[in-house]
Symmetry: C2
């Protein structure tokens, strides 16, 4: 009953209208791991350079994340991303990307990581995702993310990867781009015809939508007066969502369970964006998560009442 995540481990430099950080812990696998660590045992797989130190590892260890499969490349430097957000926090503007050790990443999974119950393939090159997926043949549930770059440059490989997973989690604009289908319902249906039994459309400040066979569920983002840094929100959402499912190995992936997973993902994402990088999630408590899920339920619930309609 463990969860393995393969993805990027990074240093991020981020500027938003509310401040900036020159160098902070980031990367999809990091944000995912921290979020998922509230639910289950997490093993993180990814490369770092010599510049990745004990203080970065300590953030993961404090949340109980297993870092044995973080591969340190001697003489290399850790993946670095510099970006900024304008007042519209929905769009990240990339100012600089240094792939560094991530450019030659060949995921090496220890037996323990391969033996996972649940696998999350964060956004990396789709050939690599497929290799990792093949190494975890026994995984009960496999979910993946991707991005516009791979849709544009490696679409066939990406589709081959999607065919082999249970869940695709993608931004709604990317789902449209991937399928060439402007209607989100049809786009999700198209993806499900390739293999996955469920599709999560991430919608940024608008929340997320879940497609599961003929079932649909949507949840708004938690309303926040202070969104400080959206970096990693999608990965925190995925960590909450997939982590929640990993914590229920004996339950059917039915609508009630999947919807709860959506709520936990939404809660984790809302904490992620309220401070820079991993700062908020690193000191988050289970009680805060539970309270936020309760609040989410409260702000999305309505009850109909009898009324005679005319017509």
């Amino acid at each position: 009953m463990s969860l393995t995540v393969v993805g990027s481990i990074a240093f991020d430099a981020v500027r938003t209208p509310w401040g900036e950080r020159e160098r902070m812990l980031g990367g999809s696998a990091v944000h995912f791991s921290l979020a998922a660590s509230f639910f289950t045992d997490v093993r993180v797989v990814g490369p770092v350079g010599d510049d990745f130190g004990e203080s970065e590892l300590a953030v993961l260890h404090a949340r109980g994340v297993d870092t044995e499969d973080i591969e340190r490349i001697a003489g290399g430097r850790t993946f670095f991303w510099r970006g900024h957000y304008e007042f519209d926090l929905n769009t990240a503007h990339t100012d600089e990307t240094q792939l560094n050790v991530f450019g030659d990443f060949a995921p090496k999974l220890s037996p323990a990581s391969r033996d996972c119950d649940v696998l999350f393939l964060a956004n990396i090159q789709p050939d690599l995702q497929r290799e990792v997926r093949a190494q975890c043949a026994g995984a009960r549930f496999v979910a993946m993310d991707s991005m516009n770059l791979w849709i544009e440059t490696a679409r066939d490989s990406l589709i081959a990867t999607i065919e082999g997973v249970h869940a695709l989690m993608l931004n709604d604009a990317e789902l449209r781009m991937l399928t060439g289908e402007p209607n989100l319902v049809r786009a999700a249906r198209e993806v499900m015809s390739w293999g996955p039994s469920l599709v999560v459309a991430k919608q940024g400040e608008y929340g997320a939508a879940l497609f599961h066979g003929d079932e649909f569920f949507a949840l708004p983002a938690f309303p926040l007066e202070d969104v400080v840094d959206p970096t990693g929100a999608g990965d925190s959402f995925a960590g909450g969502f997939v982590g929640y499912l990993a914590a229920h190995p004996d339950d059917e992936l039915d609508a009630p369970l999947l919807r709860r997973a959506m709520a936990y993902g939404t809660a984790l994402a809302s904490f992620n964006v309220s401070e820079f990088g991993t700062e908020r999630v690193a000191r988050l408590t289970g009680e805060e998560i539970r309270d936020r899920v309760g609040e989410l339920q409260r702000i999305t619930t309505f009850a109909d009442a009898p009324l005679a309609l005319r017509g």
Copy 2:
């Protein structure tokens, strides 16, 4: 217990990827009236030209809308809008606008229209909205819409109008533009500090959010495989929302009532967009509306369950 709406009555020419119409009944007051007619008595106020005929009036009469205050300007022509949508149906592209009789519109309300219980000021020039609002001094509840044009060209007048209403219903991008506040929670709070006790942020395909004091509620749009023509969706939403409130003259405007109104607005909007212009709503039934509200509830409900979180 009647509802008066003042706004545009139009002929629309619309092209979408799924077809086109050269001349169909449209306008904010028309879409609003038809939607609201399922809930209460509706009186529509607005100007038309000689080209507005019996077949157009018949659409309103079939839904019981009172058209006594539709002012026919002799020798004039009805407001005409031509637009198109690309595959992204969220953005309307205007190709042609002929204000015609709408350019000199000076709303004239009959005593019956002035005596309304509820008033909706659809998107017209804010000075005119304020004049109408003053004529309906006894209205228990007044809601209004506006648009980016008036934010850019008549902001002070628009704010003066907003100060005198109970509810502002606006696209979320326009709320940000109006307040200069990129955060939607803060933007809504700013508007409420001017006077309105509630703000509805219309979010297109993502649904709508309600701000009411410290209360928040959000509802996704109903998922549709075939969105044919989004024209009038916001006005149909407003018609369902305001119409629902008008049908409850003795109820407090508390969270349960307002949330139900959001659901009925969402249902009406979903029917509006599934065919061109007024075509779908014109033959809609109360039972279909009620079924869709039930379905909306089903696809937005989740229940938490006990789980030991780590941390």
